[in-house]
């Protein structure tokens, strides 16, 4: 082992790569820790050129104390993802200051591998994966370069890439076949959730505004058959039945409603829902989810709930029916569905009466109310004016500008004023279709609120008052990328030149999304269930069978790869040598075997002694061969002569 530290160029490369490995930790590290690490890295970088500037032993000890103090003040403990990362990065920073020998550099490279890998605990996107893959290639390059300095770096990099490519099949086999088991409970330190925006448990007209602007992906749904038309794409979330006039929340004891199975009809939609990490256990199913399997369950509001929440992407298989009848209403449900804070004001009563709320069938009242929204100058906007103490009345009679929450809550309020059971349903509506991958992706911008009215013999029926005001909102998704606050809202039905560019970009985006979907479906979300299903297709059932297959495949792959690597380039014999070997073969049959260390000339002498009658031929052949092989100016034509002579040679 060499004990010298790597040369300067290599040190720069090492420190740079360590920086690249740690850089993406920036968002999830406490600023102090990141600053501490960055300072140490910077110091070390300066130290490459000026080794005298590096801290001595006592200063190092102080730095160590400082690092410990930082960890202590951040109060994250030692265990768990955040604390572990924090601790690890601090240790890596300190280790950088002590990079004296090759062994230290090696340890730093290994630590950088861990630092790079732990990024995946926070972020698992495909681009991110590519970035980490690149960092890992660089780290391998460093290992190679540190082990054999005489290499140019580019050659080491090439070798590293070759290594990764050769190891990829092995890694793939292990990835597919290694049984995915759940970690034991005592090890479950990985359940920290991230702070994500999402639908809230409370609806207060205005609280969805932020969501409306977020481009963040919520889920994707891949359909086995055709996609549902846009007006059926209602992804059901929490149902808000209780209100104090300003806010809407889920009814307090809705869990105790008697559960009923809605009667479903129409064409079923079978799909796989790929849900991004959530902090709530809500699963947004297409209205009305009818077939599902654990860990999913359907609560009394027909909302899908999962019993597993692990802060990671999850996939669920579901079947939904667009037509359904939820049947009769229980008394508790009814009470909650007509509950109002106090009695409606005279203005409201007058409006309900004008729209035949009291004297006509509910369907008629609904129709005239939707017409009212459409005919009167109601506006759809994401930037509604601020509403005062009585938001519903102010919206209905004064401002008349708002978005889905305003319309849904006002609609339900008026229904209840007319003693018709109604409630607000939140969730997502629409979504962007990806024709390439046959899936729909729904972003936070697609968050929506609509209304459900209970009608005799039909059960809960969905009405979307927003559609009456802004039908495009339902048919076309909101174009978030072109939206800035206070601007007119564009819906995506662009045409003309601009539309063409947009559609081209969209096309590229769709293909990219398909790749991304594959990455998430096959890499990120390849859990125990998927693995079991996938491998069962090949007749591999159970962990034991998986391990057996894994062993067999690994052995086969190793043997094949080894053969390929070891015998990749079979030596091509020099033509002169090949002919000479033929000559030797002829002599070997006469019992004259050329020794391994024996030169051609010595061999010729021996042959001549044994077969004096062939001395001339032997000398000639040996002479030409020697000239071809070792001569200063071998004549290619001699090969032909050699060939002829050897062919004619009959000892």
């Amino acid at each position: 082992m060499k004990t010298a530290a790597p040369n300067q160029k290599l040190q720069f490369l090492l420190l740079g790569t360590v920086g690249l490995a740690v850089l993406p930790h920036y968002p999830h590290l406490p600023p102090l820790t990141f600053g501490f690490f960055a300072a140490l890295l910077g110091w070390r970088l300066l130290g490459v050129r000026h080794p005298a500037w590096l801290p001595e032993r006592r200063v190092l000890f102080l730095l160590l104390l400082l690092g410990i103090a930082l960890l202590f003040t951040e109060r994250q403990g030692i265990f768990g993802r955040d604390a572990g990362t924090n601790l690890f990065i601090t240790a890596l920073g300190l280790k950088l200051m002590e990079m004296k020998r090759e062994r230290d550099s090696c340890l730093i490279v290994y630590m950088a591998f861990v630092a790079a890998a732990t990024q995946f605990l926070y972020e698992q996107g495909i681009l991110f994966g590519a970035y980490i893959g690149l960092v890992c290639c660089l780290l391998l390059t460093l290992l190679i370069a540190m082990n054999g300095l005489q290499h140019p770096i580019a050659q080491a990099l090439k070798l590293a890439v070759i290594f990764v490519l050769q190891a990829a099949p092995l890694a793939a086999a292990m990835f597919i076949l290694f049984p995915r088991l759940d970690p034991p409970k005592w090890l479950a330190i990985g359940s920290e959730t991230r702070n994500r925006t999402g639908l809230s448990e409370m609806l207060e007209p205005g609280s969805i505004t932020n969501l409306g602007l977020s481009d963040e992906l919520v889920f994707r749904a891949r359909f086995d058959g055709p996609l549902p038309p846009p007006h059926q794409r209602y992804w059901r979330g929490p149902v808000m039945a209780a209100t104090d006039g300003k806010r809407w929340v889920q009814a307090q004891n809705f869990e105790r409603y008697p559960k009923s199975n809605p009667q479903v009809s129409g064409r079923p939609y079978r799909y796989t829902l790929l849900l991004e990490p959530q902090e709530k256990n809500w699963v947004f199913a297409l209205d009305m989810p009818a077939e599902f399997s654990p860990p999913l369950s359907r609560n009394a509001n027909f909302q899908m709930i999962t019993s597993e929440l692990h802060g990671q992407r999850a996939a669920y298989k579901l079947t939904s029916y667009p037509d359904y009848n939820t049947g009769p209403l229980s008394s508790a449900e009814y009470r909650d569905a007509i509950q109002l804070p106090g009695t409606p004001s005279a203005r409201v009563k007058e409006l309900v009466a004008r729209l035949h709320g009291y004297d006509a069938a509910p369907e008629l009242f609904i129709k005239s109310l939707l017409n009212h929204f459409r005919r009167e100058n109601f506006r759809y906007t994401l930037e509604p004016p601020k509403l005062d103490a009585n938001p519903i009345e102010s919206f209905l009679f004064d401002t008349r500008a708002g978005f889905c929450s305003h319309y849904a809550s006002a609609f339900v309020y008026l229904m209840r004023a007319a003693q018709i059971p109604a409630r607000v349903v939140t969730g997502y509506q629409g979504g962007e279709t990806n024709e390439v991958g046959n899936f729909i992706q729904v972003r936070q911008a697609d968050a929506h609120a609509w209304a459900e009215v209970w009608l005799d013999r039909r059960g809960w029926v969905r009405y979307d008052p927003t559609a009456a005001v802004a039908p495009e909102r339902i048919e076309y998704p909101l174009d978030v990328s072109r939206l800035s606050p206070g601007e007119t809202i564009y819906f995506e039905s662009a045409s003309g030149e601009f539309g063409k560019i947009v559609s081209l970009l969209k096309q590229a985006g769709l293909i990219w999304d398909t790749v991304d979907y594959g990455w998430q479906r096959w890499i990120i979300n390849y859990n125990g269930t998927h693995q079991a299903n996938f491998l069962a297709g090949f007749g591999i059932k159970g962990s034991r069978a998986m391990l057996n297959w894994l062993g067999a495949i690994l052995i086969a792959a190793t043997v094949m790869l080894s053969l390929a690597i070891l015998y990749r380039r079979r030596r091509k014999l020099d033509p002169a040598l090949r002919i000479y070997v033929r000559f030797c073969g002829k002599l070997a049959r006469k019992g004259l075997v050329k020794g391994t260390g024996e030169g051609a000339k010595d061999f010729a002498e021996r042959v001549k002694a044994a077969l004096p009658e062939h001395a001339g031929e032997v000398d000639g052949i040996t002479g030409i061969f020697m000239n071809l092989r070792y001569g200063k100016r071998p004549d290619p034509k001699d090969i032909e002569q050699l060939k002829r002579r050897v062919a004619a040679f009959k000892p």
Binding site: C106, A117, A167, I565
Partner: protein, 318 residues
């Protein structure tokens, strides 16, 4: 070529891993039988790294980390093949080394041929100092393995270990080789200062005396071993070829270096002294003979004579 086969018992002999197989005079081609491989400390660290990542992946149920851990494991496996390939196929031959004096360094020439089209970027030979070389494709290379020649007699190269940790430093492939290579070690010359014994024309004088060093006797064709200073340069310059001046004469005594009459305590000290005298006598162009208890070399001069005297001293029984 390797010896045709190893018996099962020999195959599992531990010494094969450390000292190598029996010495052989033939060139040795490195193959799976000659090359051993074990992870280095860094290699064990790398394996630990892969296990650690695997553990993280398991605890957090994180597939990309699984993938990374498996990739590192695959690289670890493949490193064995790559490291093995760095040595496999090389052909090692022994060379002929030059004698040295005791206390010096014996340099054993080793020929390492790379008859394959593969570059071997890092092949190291254990020793003090360690040698590292890169073997280009289809190349013949020679290196010297140095051993300290502590005492006179035959110095053996012992086990010569080639090794490589290329490319990642995770594994060390090594091949311990033994050859029948020997280098003769002359006794260490004693310090100069003790004068040569007197020239004697006495009873010990032997037959070929008329070729002594004193009087010019005639010219003869130069033969290897004649002292350079006796070459008749003038004749050479005139184009008569290389001629050696012959000296002879009655008064010219011969120098007998007699073990029994050599000062010194013990055999080794006397041999050292004799060694110094042989060098001095040769330097002075004297004719000298050597008398050892069991060996006698009649007086002569020249490089060959010097060599046979030194050999006799070197191989004097201990």
């Amino acid at each position: 070529m390797n010896a045709p086969g190893l018996k099962m018992k020999d195959r599992f002999r531990l010494s094969r891993f450390v000292f190598g197989e029996k010495a052989s005079p033939d060139p040795i081609t490195l193959n799976h039988r000659r090359i051993f491989i074990l992870p280095t400390l860094s290699g064990l660290g790398f394996a630990f790294l892969a296990v650690l990542l695997f553990f993280i992946a398991f605890v957090y149920n994180n597939n990309p980390v699984y993938l990374l851990a498996f990739l590192l494991a695959g690289i670890f496996f493949l490193a064995t093949v790559h490291t093995f390939r760095t040595l496999a196929g090389l052909v090692i031959r022994e060379g002929h080394g030059k004698p040295v004096f005791a206390g010096g360094t014996a340099a054993f020439p080793i020929h390492i041929d790379n008859p394959t089209p593969l570059l071997r970027p890092q092949v190291r030979i254990e020793g003090q100092p360690e040698t590292e070389l890169a073997l280009p494709p289809d190349s013949r290379n020679q290196i010297f393995v140095h051993r300290t020649a502590a005492r006179r007699g035959w110095c053996e190269a012992g086990t010569i270990t080639l090794y490589s940790t290329f490319p990642l430093g995770l594994f060390r492939a090594w091949s311990p080789l033994r050859f029948n290579m020997k280098i003769l070690v002359y006794p260490q010359p004693a310090e100069a200062g003790v004068p040569l014994p007197p020239l004697s024309a006495g009873p010990n004088r032997e037959g070929t005396g008329h070729q002594g060093s004193d009087e010019f006797y005639g010219l003869k064709n130069y033969s290897a071993g004649d002292p350079v200073r006796r070459i008749h340069w003038k004749a050479y310059a005139k184009g008569y070829g290389v001629l050696s001046k012959q000296y002879g004469g009655g008064s010219g005594g011969e120098l007998w270096l007699d073990f029994d009459e050599t000062p010194g305590r013990g055999t080794e000290e006397r041999l050292s002294r004799l060694c110094r005298w042989v060098l001095e006598a040769d330097q002075a162009g004297l004719r000298y003979g050597l008398r050892l208890p069991d060996h006698r070399i009649v007086p002569a001069d020249g490089a060959l004579h010097r060599q046979s005297c030194l050999e006799a001293l070197a191989l004097h029984p201990l």
